[in-house]
Protein backbone atom coordinates (compact mmCIF):
# COMPACT_ATOMS: atom_id res chain seq x y z
CA UNK A 1 0.00 0.00 0.00
CA UNK A 2 2.29 2.81 1.21
CA UNK A 3 5.49 3.14 -0.78
CA UNK A 4 8.76 2.46 0.99
CA UNK A 5 9.39 5.21 3.47
CA UNK A 6 12.47 7.25 2.89
CA UNK A 7 13.49 7.39 6.51
CA UNK A 8 15.80 10.37 6.21
CA UNK A 9 13.26 12.43 4.37
CA UNK A 10 10.54 11.64 6.88
CA UNK A 11 12.89 12.47 9.74
CA UNK A 12 13.71 15.83 8.14
CA UNK A 13 10.01 16.53 7.78
CA UNK A 14 9.21 15.57 11.33
CA UNK A 15 11.79 18.16 12.34
CA UNK A 16 9.16 20.75 11.26
CA UNK A 17 7.36 20.07 14.53
CA UNK A 18 10.52 20.21 16.62
CA UNK A 19 11.65 23.51 15.15
CA UNK A 20 8.19 25.03 15.42
CA UNK A 21 7.82 24.11 19.08
CA UNK A 22 11.26 25.34 20.04
CA UNK A 23 10.48 28.60 18.21
CA UNK A 24 7.35 28.88 20.30
CA UNK A 25 9.34 28.30 23.47
CA UNK A 26 11.73 31.07 22.47
CA UNK A 27 8.79 33.36 21.84
CA UNK A 28 7.18 32.66 25.21
CA UNK A 29 10.45 32.33 27.08
CA UNK A 30 9.12 34.27 30.06
CA UNK A 31 6.46 31.66 30.70
CA UNK A 32 8.94 28.90 30.16
CA UNK A 33 11.12 30.33 32.94
CA UNK A 34 8.09 30.63 35.22
CA UNK A 35 7.13 26.98 34.66
CA UNK A 36 10.72 25.93 35.14
CA UNK A 37 11.03 27.77 38.45
CA UNK A 38 7.73 26.27 39.53
CA UNK A 39 8.88 22.75 38.69
CA UNK A 40 12.20 23.21 40.48
CA UNK A 41 10.49 24.57 43.60
CA UNK A 42 7.94 21.80 43.48
CA UNK A 43 10.61 19.12 43.23
CA UNK A 44 12.62 20.67 46.07
CA UNK A 45 9.52 20.84 48.23
CA UNK A 46 8.88 17.15 47.67
CA UNK A 47 12.53 16.32 48.37
CA UNK A 48 12.51 18.21 51.70
CA UNK A 49 9.65 16.01 52.88
CA UNK A 50 12.16 13.16 53.07
CA UNK A 51 14.62 15.01 55.29
CA UNK A 52 14.49 14.61 59.09
CA UNK A 53 15.30 17.58 61.36
CA UNK A 54 18.55 15.87 62.41
CA UNK A 55 19.67 15.81 58.79
CA UNK A 56 19.18 12.09 58.31
CA UNK A 57 16.91 10.54 55.67
CA UNK A 58 19.14 11.08 52.64
CA UNK A 59 17.98 7.83 51.08
CA UNK A 60 14.36 8.86 51.59
CA UNK A 61 15.17 12.13 49.77
CA UNK A 62 16.73 10.17 46.93
CA UNK A 63 13.65 7.96 46.76
CA UNK A 64 11.42 11.01 46.39
CA UNK A 65 13.74 12.83 43.99
CA UNK A 66 13.93 9.85 41.64
CA UNK A 67 10.13 9.69 41.67
CA UNK A 68 9.79 13.42 41.03
CA UNK A 69 12.33 13.47 38.20
CA UNK A 70 10.92 10.42 36.44
CA UNK A 71 7.38 11.64 36.79
CA UNK A 72 8.50 15.07 35.61
CA UNK A 73 9.91 13.59 32.44
CA UNK A 74 7.10 11.16 31.72
CA UNK A 75 4.34 13.67 32.40
CA UNK A 76 5.96 16.22 30.08
CA UNK A 77 6.17 13.52 27.44
CA UNK A 78 2.55 12.56 27.95
CA UNK A 79 1.38 16.19 28.01
CA UNK A 80 3.20 17.31 24.92
CA UNK A 81 1.91 14.37 22.91
CA UNK A 82 -1.60 14.42 24.35
CA UNK A 83 -2.07 18.18 24.00
CA UNK A 84 -0.52 18.60 20.57
CA UNK A 85 -3.81 18.23 18.73
CA UNK A 86 -5.84 20.26 21.17
CA UNK A 87 -3.38 23.05 20.90
CA UNK A 88 -3.27 23.14 17.11
CA UNK A 89 -7.03 23.08 17.14
CA UNK A 90 -7.03 26.07 19.41
CA UNK A 91 -4.56 28.00 17.24
CA UNK A 92 -6.61 26.99 14.21
CA UNK A 93 -3.61 25.57 12.40
CA UNK A 94 -4.68 21.95 12.59
CA UNK A 95 -6.37 21.95 9.20
CA UNK A 96 -3.16 23.24 7.65
CA UNK A 97 -0.95 20.75 9.41
CA UNK A 98 -3.23 17.84 8.56
CA UNK A 99 -3.68 18.94 4.95
CA UNK A 100 0.03 18.72 4.26
CA UNK A 101 1.24 15.72 2.25
CA UNK A 102 2.89 14.23 5.28
CA UNK A 103 2.27 10.85 6.76
CA UNK A 104 0.54 11.07 10.11
CA UNK A 105 3.23 8.81 11.45
CA UNK A 106 5.81 11.47 10.56
CA UNK A 107 3.78 14.26 12.11
CA UNK A 108 3.31 12.33 15.33
CA UNK A 109 6.94 11.25 15.25
CA UNK A 110 7.88 14.93 15.22
CA UNK A 111 5.59 15.62 18.15
CA UNK A 112 7.19 12.77 20.12
CA UNK A 113 10.70 13.81 19.16
CA UNK A 114 10.11 17.29 20.49
CA UNK A 115 8.38 15.98 23.59
CA UNK A 116 11.33 13.73 24.40
CA UNK A 117 13.91 16.46 23.80
CA UNK A 118 11.95 19.06 25.75
CA UNK A 119 11.26 16.64 28.61
CA UNK A 120 14.92 15.67 28.80
CA UNK A 121 16.11 19.29 28.92
CA UNK A 122 13.65 20.18 31.65
CA UNK A 123 14.54 17.11 33.68
CA UNK A 124 18.26 17.80 33.47
CA UNK A 125 17.73 21.37 34.68
CA UNK A 126 15.64 20.21 37.63
CA UNK A 127 18.16 17.51 38.40
CA UNK A 128 21.01 20.05 38.50
CA UNK A 129 19.04 22.23 40.90
CA UNK A 130 18.28 19.30 43.20
CA UNK A 131 21.84 17.98 43.17
CA UNK A 132 23.08 21.49 43.91
CA UNK A 133 21.01 21.71 47.08
CA UNK A 134 20.97 18.17 48.42
CA UNK A 135 24.15 16.23 48.88
CA UNK A 136 22.88 13.14 47.08
CA UNK A 137 24.97 10.02 46.96
CA UNK A 138 24.64 8.35 43.57
CA UNK A 139 27.85 6.37 44.00
CA UNK A 140 26.18 2.98 43.82
CA UNK A 141 23.66 3.93 41.13
CA UNK A 142 23.53 2.07 37.86
CA UNK A 143 22.93 5.11 35.63
CA UNK A 144 22.92 3.19 32.37
CA UNK A 145 20.19 0.86 33.62
CA UNK A 146 18.24 3.92 34.80
CA UNK A 147 18.48 5.48 31.36
CA UNK A 148 17.31 2.31 29.65
CA UNK A 149 14.31 2.11 31.98
CA UNK A 150 13.47 5.67 31.02
CA UNK A 151 13.77 4.99 27.30
CA UNK A 152 11.61 1.90 27.44
CA UNK A 153 8.92 3.55 29.51
CA UNK A 154 8.89 6.51 27.12
CA UNK A 155 7.44 4.13 24.54
CA UNK A 156 4.44 3.30 26.70
CA UNK A 157 3.86 6.91 27.61
CA UNK A 158 4.00 7.97 23.99
CA UNK A 159 1.46 5.25 23.19
CA UNK A 160 -0.91 6.39 25.93
CA UNK A 161 -0.27 10.01 24.91
CA UNK A 162 -1.28 9.25 21.33
CA UNK A 163 -4.53 7.76 22.50
CA UNK A 164 -5.17 10.75 24.73
CA UNK A 165 -4.34 13.08 21.82
CA UNK A 166 -7.23 11.50 19.94
CA UNK A 167 -9.73 12.54 22.59
CA UNK A 168 -9.95 16.22 21.51
CA UNK A 169 -10.67 15.00 17.98
CA UNK A 170 -13.65 13.07 19.27
CA UNK A 171 -14.92 15.67 21.70
CA UNK A 172 -13.34 19.11 21.42
CA UNK A 173 -14.50 20.28 24.86
CA UNK A 174 -14.19 17.19 27.00
CA UNK A 175 -11.23 15.51 25.35
CA UNK A 176 -8.54 17.54 27.02
CA UNK A 177 -10.22 17.23 30.41
CA UNK A 178 -10.28 13.45 30.07
CA UNK A 179 -6.54 13.44 29.33
CA UNK A 180 -5.86 15.33 32.57
CA UNK A 181 -7.95 12.89 34.58
CA UNK A 182 -6.06 9.98 33.05
CA UNK A 183 -2.74 11.58 33.97
CA UNK A 184 -3.87 12.18 37.55
CA UNK A 185 -5.00 8.57 37.87
CA UNK A 186 -1.62 7.30 36.68
CA UNK A 187 0.12 9.56 39.20
CA UNK A 188 -2.06 8.23 42.02
CA UNK A 189 -1.64 4.50 41.45
CA UNK A 190 1.91 4.18 40.10
CA UNK A 191 3.88 4.74 43.30
CA UNK A 192 5.62 7.92 42.24
CA UNK A 193 6.20 9.18 45.79
CA UNK A 194 5.33 6.11 47.85
CA UNK A 195 5.41 2.37 47.59
CA UNK A 196 2.32 0.95 45.89
CA UNK A 197 1.91 -1.49 48.79
CA UNK A 198 0.49 1.37 50.90
CA UNK A 199 -2.46 1.69 48.55
CA UNK A 200 -5.84 0.07 49.15
CA UNK A 201 -6.12 -3.28 47.42
CA UNK A 202 -8.37 -2.06 44.60
CA UNK A 203 -5.90 0.69 43.77
CA UNK A 204 -3.05 -1.79 43.81
CA UNK A 205 -4.85 -3.69 41.09
CA UNK A 206 -4.89 -0.53 39.00
CA UNK A 207 -1.22 0.03 39.68
CA UNK A 208 -0.49 -3.27 37.96
CA UNK A 209 -1.85 -1.99 34.67
CA UNK A 210 -0.01 1.35 34.83
CA UNK A 211 3.32 1.21 32.98
CA UNK A 212 4.65 3.90 35.32
CA UNK A 213 4.57 1.40 38.21
CA UNK A 214 7.16 -0.76 36.45
CA UNK A 215 9.18 2.30 35.46
CA UNK A 216 9.47 3.56 39.00
CA UNK A 217 10.20 0.21 40.54
CA UNK A 218 12.91 -0.61 38.01
CA UNK A 219 14.42 2.89 38.03
CA UNK A 220 14.62 2.93 41.83
CA UNK A 221 16.21 -0.49 41.85
CA UNK A 222 18.83 0.73 39.37
CA UNK A 223 19.46 4.17 40.84
CA UNK A 224 19.12 3.49 44.57
CA UNK A 225 20.34 -0.08 44.86
CA UNK A 226 22.57 -0.28 41.81
CA UNK A 227 20.60 -3.19 40.33
CA UNK A 228 21.90 -4.51 37.03
CA UNK A 229 19.90 -4.82 33.82
CA UNK A 230 19.67 -8.53 34.52
CA UNK A 231 18.18 -7.91 37.97
CA UNK A 232 15.38 -5.75 36.59
CA UNK A 233 14.81 -7.78 33.43
CA UNK A 234 11.22 -8.68 34.21
CA UNK A 235 10.20 -5.03 34.60
CA UNK A 236 12.12 -4.13 31.45
CA UNK A 237 10.32 -6.85 29.56
CA UNK A 238 6.96 -5.60 30.75
CA UNK A 239 7.87 -2.06 29.65
CA UNK A 240 9.11 -3.26 26.29
CA UNK A 241 5.99 -5.32 25.72
CA UNK A 242 3.59 -2.51 26.73
CA UNK A 243 5.48 -0.11 24.48
CA UNK A 244 5.34 -2.56 21.60
CA UNK A 245 1.59 -2.83 22.05
CA UNK A 246 0.71 0.73 23.02
CA UNK A 247 2.54 2.60 20.24
CA UNK A 248 0.93 0.77 17.31
CA UNK A 249 -2.37 0.84 19.19
CA UNK A 250 -1.95 4.58 19.79
CA UNK A 251 -1.29 5.19 16.10
CA UNK A 252 -4.30 3.08 15.15
CA UNK A 253 -6.56 4.89 17.58
CA UNK A 254 -5.26 8.24 16.36
CA UNK A 255 -5.94 7.30 12.76
CA UNK A 256 -9.47 6.25 13.59
CA UNK A 257 -9.96 9.44 15.57
CA UNK A 258 -8.81 11.53 12.63
CA UNK A 259 -11.17 9.73 10.27
CA UNK A 260 -13.99 10.29 12.73
CA UNK A 261 -13.15 14.00 12.89
CA UNK A 262 -13.05 14.18 9.10
CA UNK A 263 -16.44 12.53 8.90
CA UNK A 264 -18.12 14.70 11.49
CA UNK A 265 -16.34 17.98 10.81
CA UNK A 266 -14.57 18.21 14.16
CA UNK A 267 -11.18 19.36 12.87
CA UNK A 268 -12.52 22.85 12.60
CA UNK A 269 -11.98 25.07 15.62
CA UNK A 270 -15.59 26.14 15.98
CA UNK A 271 -18.66 24.06 15.21
Amino acid sequence: MAPMLDFNRELRRSYALVERNFNLIKRYLGWEVVFMVYTVVNTLTIAFIGLSPDGSGQDRVLYLVVGALLWGFLSVLFHEVAESVQWERWEGTIEYSFMAPMRRFTYLGGVCLFAAAYGAIRTVIVMCAVVGIFDLDLGSANLLAGLIVLLLSSLSFIGVGLMAATLPLMSPEKGSQAAHILEAAILLVSGVYYDVSVLPVWMQRLSKISPATYTLRAARAALLDGASLFDIRSDLLVLLATGAILIPLGLLVFNQGELYAMRTGKLKRSG
Partner: protein
Protein backbone atom coordinates in the same frame (compact mmCIF):
# COMPACT_ATOMS: atom_id res chain seq x y z
CA UNK B 1 -8.47 16.77 -21.47
CA UNK B 2 -8.34 15.77 -17.80
CA UNK B 3 -10.28 17.99 -15.43
CA UNK B 4 -8.42 19.78 -12.69
CA UNK B 5 -11.32 19.09 -10.39
CA UNK B 6 -14.30 16.83 -10.77
CA UNK B 7 -17.19 16.61 -8.42
CA UNK B 8 -19.90 14.00 -8.96
CA UNK B 9 -22.92 14.01 -6.69
CA UNK B 10 -20.82 15.11 -3.74
CA UNK B 11 -22.76 15.28 -0.54
CA UNK B 12 -22.00 16.26 3.05
CA UNK B 13 -24.44 16.20 5.91
CA UNK B 14 -23.63 17.49 9.38
CA UNK B 15 -25.57 16.59 12.46
CA UNK B 16 -26.03 19.56 14.72
CA UNK B 17 -27.49 19.65 18.21
CA UNK B 18 -31.01 20.93 18.19
CA UNK B 19 -32.39 22.89 21.13
CA UNK B 20 -35.69 21.41 22.24
CA UNK B 21 -38.18 24.10 23.03
CA UNK B 22 -39.76 23.05 26.24
CA UNK B 23 -40.58 24.48 29.60
CA UNK B 24 -40.85 21.23 31.44
CA UNK B 25 -37.91 20.48 33.69
CA UNK B 26 -38.06 16.80 32.87
CA UNK B 27 -37.93 17.27 29.10
CA UNK B 28 -35.07 19.75 29.51
CA UNK B 29 -33.12 17.23 31.55
CA UNK B 30 -33.95 14.55 29.02
CA UNK B 31 -32.70 16.79 26.22
CA UNK B 32 -29.42 17.28 28.08
CA UNK B 33 -28.83 13.58 28.49
CA UNK B 34 -29.98 12.57 25.02
CA UNK B 35 -29.53 15.60 22.78
CA UNK B 36 -31.48 15.67 19.59
CA UNK B 37 -29.46 15.91 16.41
CA UNK B 38 -30.74 17.39 13.25
CA UNK B 39 -29.19 16.85 9.83
CA UNK B 40 -27.90 19.87 7.90
CA UNK B 41 -27.32 19.26 4.20
CA UNK B 42 -24.22 21.43 3.89
CA UNK B 43 -23.37 20.17 0.40
CA UNK B 44 -26.27 18.63 -1.42
CA UNK B 45 -25.28 16.39 -4.34
CA UNK B 46 -23.10 18.78 -6.31
CA UNK B 47 -21.85 17.89 -9.75
CA UNK B 48 -19.44 20.09 -11.67
CA UNK B 49 -15.95 20.14 -13.08
CA UNK B 50 -13.19 22.70 -13.31
CA UNK B 51 -10.78 22.87 -16.24
CA UNK B 52 -7.04 23.22 -15.71
CA UNK B 53 -6.08 26.89 -15.51
CA UNK B 54 -9.64 27.98 -14.85
CA UNK B 55 -10.64 30.35 -12.07
CA UNK B 56 -13.88 28.95 -10.74
CA UNK B 57 -15.91 31.13 -8.41
CA UNK B 58 -18.47 30.10 -5.83
CA UNK B 59 -20.89 32.69 -4.56
CA UNK B 60 -23.49 32.09 -1.92
CA UNK B 61 -25.02 33.47 1.27
CA UNK B 62 -23.60 32.65 4.70
CA UNK B 63 -24.00 29.00 5.58
CA UNK B 64 -24.71 27.95 2.02
CA UNK B 65 -21.94 25.33 2.00
CA UNK B 66 -19.01 27.08 0.30
CA UNK B 67 -16.41 26.32 2.95
CA UNK B 68 -17.71 22.78 3.35
CA UNK B 69 -17.20 22.19 -0.35
CA UNK B 70 -13.68 23.62 -0.13
CA UNK B 71 -12.94 21.35 2.85
CA UNK B 72 -14.21 18.31 0.96
CA UNK B 73 -11.86 19.11 -1.91
CA UNK B 74 -8.96 19.76 0.45
CA UNK B 75 -9.28 16.31 2.08
CA UNK B 76 -10.26 17.75 5.46
CA UNK B 77 -13.77 16.31 5.37
CA UNK B 78 -14.94 12.96 4.07
CA UNK B 79 -17.88 13.17 1.67
CA UNK B 80 -20.92 11.12 2.68
CA UNK B 81 -21.62 10.21 -0.90
CA UNK B 82 -20.40 10.98 -4.38
CA UNK B 83 -16.91 11.33 -5.65
CA UNK B 84 -14.41 14.16 -5.91
CA UNK B 85 -11.17 13.91 -7.89
CA UNK B 86 -8.30 16.36 -8.23
CA UNK B 87 -6.33 15.82 -11.44
CA UNK B 88 -7.72 12.30 -11.51
CA UNK B 89 -6.91 11.47 -7.87
CA UNK B 90 -9.73 10.60 -5.52
CA UNK B 91 -9.83 12.82 -2.43
CA UNK B 92 -10.68 9.88 -0.18
CA UNK B 93 -8.71 6.98 -1.59
CA UNK B 94 -5.69 8.94 -2.79
CA UNK B 95 -5.61 11.58 -0.12
CA UNK B 96 -1.84 11.73 -0.02
CA UNK B 97 -1.56 12.33 -3.78
CA UNK B 98 -4.22 15.02 -3.70
CA UNK B 99 -2.51 16.80 -0.82
CA UNK B 100 0.61 17.18 -2.91
CA UNK B 101 -1.34 19.02 -5.59
CA UNK B 102 -3.41 21.45 -3.57
CA UNK B 103 -3.19 24.23 -1.06
CA UNK B 104 -5.74 26.41 0.58
CA UNK B 105 -6.26 29.87 2.01
CA UNK B 106 -9.10 30.15 4.50
CA UNK B 107 -10.99 33.19 5.66
CA UNK B 108 -9.24 33.21 9.02
CA UNK B 109 -5.49 33.40 8.57
CA UNK B 110 -4.72 30.38 10.75
CA UNK B 111 -1.22 30.71 12.11
CA UNK B 112 0.80 30.27 15.22
CA UNK B 113 0.17 33.85 16.19
CA UNK B 114 3.17 34.03 18.49
CA UNK B 115 5.57 33.09 15.72
CA UNK B 116 6.81 35.42 13.01
CA UNK B 117 5.78 35.17 9.38
CA UNK B 118 9.09 33.57 8.48
CA UNK B 119 8.83 31.02 11.29
CA UNK B 120 5.31 30.10 10.23
CA UNK B 121 6.39 29.81 6.62
CA UNK B 122 9.37 27.72 7.62
CA UNK B 123 7.03 25.33 9.40
CA UNK B 124 4.82 25.06 6.32
CA UNK B 125 7.82 24.59 4.04
CA UNK B 126 9.16 21.77 6.19
CA UNK B 127 5.77 20.04 6.32
CA UNK B 128 5.78 19.99 2.53
CA UNK B 129 9.40 18.87 2.42
CA UNK B 130 10.68 21.98 0.62
CA UNK B 131 14.41 22.51 0.50
CA UNK B 132 16.04 24.97 2.90
CA UNK B 133 17.34 27.90 0.88
CA UNK B 134 14.91 27.63 -2.02
CA UNK B 135 11.69 28.26 -0.17
CA UNK B 136 13.02 31.42 1.45
CA UNK B 137 13.72 32.95 -1.94
CA UNK B 138 10.28 31.93 -3.18
CA UNK B 139 8.61 33.27 -0.04
CA UNK B 140 10.30 36.66 -0.14
CA UNK B 141 9.54 36.94 -3.83
CA UNK B 142 5.84 36.17 -3.28
CA UNK B 143 5.57 38.50 -0.30
CA UNK B 144 7.29 41.26 -2.24
CA UNK B 145 4.86 40.83 -5.12
CA UNK B 146 2.02 41.01 -2.61
CA UNK B 147 3.41 44.30 -1.39
CA UNK B 148 4.51 43.26 2.09
CA UNK B 149 7.53 45.04 3.56
CA UNK B 150 10.28 42.68 4.58
CA UNK B 151 10.93 44.33 7.97
CA UNK B 152 7.59 42.95 9.18
CA UNK B 153 8.50 39.37 8.44
CA UNK B 154 10.30 38.74 11.71
CA UNK B 155 7.70 40.21 14.03
CA UNK B 156 5.15 37.98 15.76
CA UNK B 157 2.10 37.60 13.54
CA UNK B 158 -0.25 38.80 16.25
CA UNK B 159 1.33 42.23 15.86
CA UNK B 160 0.53 42.40 12.13
CA UNK B 161 -2.68 43.74 10.65
CA UNK B 162 -5.30 41.39 9.31
CA UNK B 163 -4.45 42.33 5.74
CA UNK B 164 -0.81 41.46 6.26
CA UNK B 165 -1.69 38.16 7.90
CA UNK B 166 -3.94 37.27 5.02
CA UNK B 167 -1.17 38.05 2.53
CA UNK B 168 1.15 35.77 4.44
CA UNK B 169 -1.53 33.08 4.28
CA UNK B 170 -1.60 33.54 0.51
CA UNK B 171 2.18 33.26 0.43
CA UNK B 172 2.03 30.07 2.51
CA UNK B 173 -0.37 28.50 0.04
CA UNK B 174 1.63 29.54 -3.03
CA UNK B 175 4.94 28.49 -1.53
CA UNK B 176 4.23 24.87 -2.38
CA UNK B 177 3.36 25.66 -6.00
CA UNK B 178 -0.05 23.98 -5.91
CA UNK B 179 -1.72 22.97 -9.17
CA UNK B 180 -5.08 23.57 -7.57
CA UNK B 181 -5.41 26.56 -5.28
CA UNK B 182 -8.44 26.71 -2.99
CA UNK B 183 -9.25 30.23 -1.88
CA UNK B 184 -11.99 30.50 0.74
CA UNK B 185 -12.85 34.18 1.01
CA UNK B 186 -9.21 35.24 0.73
CA UNK B 187 -9.97 38.96 0.63
CA UNK B 188 -12.70 39.26 3.25
CA UNK B 189 -11.79 42.08 5.60
CA UNK B 190 -9.01 43.51 3.44
CA UNK B 191 -8.85 47.17 2.44
CA UNK B 192 -9.34 47.99 -1.26
CA UNK B 193 -5.61 48.23 -1.93
CA UNK B 194 -4.75 44.92 -0.27
CA UNK B 195 -7.72 43.35 -2.00
CA UNK B 196 -6.35 44.48 -5.35
CA UNK B 197 -2.87 43.19 -4.45
CA UNK B 198 -4.24 39.73 -3.72
CA UNK B 199 -6.51 39.68 -6.77
CA UNK B 200 -3.71 40.79 -9.10
CA UNK B 201 -1.49 38.17 -7.61
CA UNK B 202 -4.03 35.39 -8.22
CA UNK B 203 -4.40 36.45 -11.86
CA UNK B 204 -0.64 36.62 -12.24
CA UNK B 205 -0.14 33.15 -10.79
CA UNK B 206 -2.65 31.72 -13.20
CA UNK B 207 -0.89 33.53 -16.04
CA UNK B 208 2.57 32.37 -14.97
CA UNK B 209 1.91 28.78 -13.97
CA UNK B 210 -1.53 27.92 -15.19
CA UNK B 211 -2.67 27.39 -11.60
CA UNK B 212 -6.29 26.29 -11.32
CA UNK B 213 -8.21 28.28 -8.73
CA UNK B 214 -11.44 27.65 -6.85
CA UNK B 215 -12.49 30.87 -5.17
CA UNK B 216 -15.33 31.61 -2.78
CA UNK B 217 -16.15 35.20 -2.08
CA UNK B 218 -18.84 37.61 -0.94
CA UNK B 219 -17.37 40.31 -3.13
CA UNK B 220 -19.29 40.40 -6.40
CA UNK B 221 -16.82 42.70 -8.13
CA UNK B 222 -14.03 40.34 -7.22
CA UNK B 223 -15.91 37.39 -8.67
CA UNK B 224 -16.71 39.36 -11.79
CA UNK B 225 -13.11 40.40 -12.20
CA UNK B 226 -11.37 37.08 -11.49
CA UNK B 227 -13.65 34.23 -12.39
CA UNK B 228 -14.03 32.46 -15.71
CA UNK B 229 -17.14 30.73 -14.45
CA UNK B 230 -19.21 31.26 -11.34
CA UNK B 231 -21.50 28.91 -9.45
CA UNK B 232 -24.13 30.36 -7.16
CA UNK B 233 -24.77 28.05 -4.23
CA UNK B 234 -27.68 28.12 -1.82
CA UNK B 235 -28.56 25.52 0.82
CA UNK B 236 -25.82 23.28 -0.52
CA UNK B 237 -27.13 23.27 -4.09
CA UNK B 238 -25.94 25.15 -7.15
CA UNK B 239 -28.77 27.38 -8.29
CA UNK B 240 -26.80 28.62 -11.31
CA UNK B 241 -23.48 27.99 -13.00
CA UNK B 242 -22.22 30.05 -15.90
CA UNK B 243 -19.71 32.67 -16.99
CA UNK B 244 -20.21 36.06 -15.34
CA UNK B 245 -21.75 37.33 -18.56
CA UNK B 246 -23.94 34.26 -18.85
CA UNK B 247 -25.22 34.77 -15.31
CA UNK B 248 -26.04 38.39 -16.00
CA UNK B 249 -27.93 37.52 -19.12
CA UNK B 250 -30.04 35.17 -17.02
CA UNK B 251 -31.90 38.01 -15.37
CA UNK B 252 -31.31 40.77 -17.86
CA UNK B 253 -34.49 41.67 -19.69
CA UNK B 254 -34.33 43.23 -23.13
CA UNK B 255 -30.58 43.65 -23.10
CA UNK B 256 -30.22 46.14 -20.20
CA UNK B 257 -26.97 45.75 -18.25
CA UNK B 258 -27.14 44.21 -14.79
CA UNK B 259 -24.51 43.67 -12.10
CA UNK B 260 -23.49 40.36 -10.59
CA UNK B 261 -24.92 41.65 -7.32
CA UNK B 262 -28.37 41.85 -8.86
CA UNK B 263 -27.93 38.32 -10.17
CA UNK B 264 -26.96 37.16 -6.69
CA UNK B 265 -30.00 38.77 -5.06
CA UNK B 266 -32.29 37.45 -7.70
CA UNK B 267 -30.99 33.88 -7.45
CA UNK B 268 -30.57 33.56 -3.69
CA UNK B 269 -33.25 36.04 -2.62
CA UNK B 270 -35.91 33.96 -4.24
CA UNK B 271 -34.90 30.82 -2.43
CA UNK B 272 -34.73 32.66 0.88
CA UNK B 273 -38.22 34.03 0.47
CA UNK B 274 -39.65 30.67 -0.46
CA UNK B 275 -38.17 29.07 2.63
CA UNK B 276 -40.28 31.49 4.66
CA UNK B 277 -37.97 31.89 7.62
CA UNK B 278 -39.25 35.32 8.64
CA UNK B 279 -42.06 35.34 11.11
CA UNK B 280 -44.02 37.99 9.24
CA UNK B 281 -43.55 36.19 5.97
CA UNK B 282 -41.38 38.88 4.40
CA UNK B 283 -38.04 38.29 2.81
CA UNK B 284 -35.04 39.25 4.92
Amino acid sequence: MQSALECCDARKVFYVKRERKSTSMLTRLFAKVIPKYEPVEAVDRLTFHVKPGEIFGILGPNGSGKSTLIRLISTLLLPDAGCITVFGHDVVKERYQVRKLINRVSVDAAFFKGLSAMENLSYAARLYGLEGGAWQTTATDILCRLGLESDKLHEPLEDLSRGMQQKIAVARALLTRPLLLLLDEPTTGLDPVSKRDVQDFVLEERERRGTTVVLTTHDMQEADRLCDRIAVIDHGKFVALDTPEGLKSLISTNGESVTLEEVFFSLTGKTLRSSGRCENGNAV
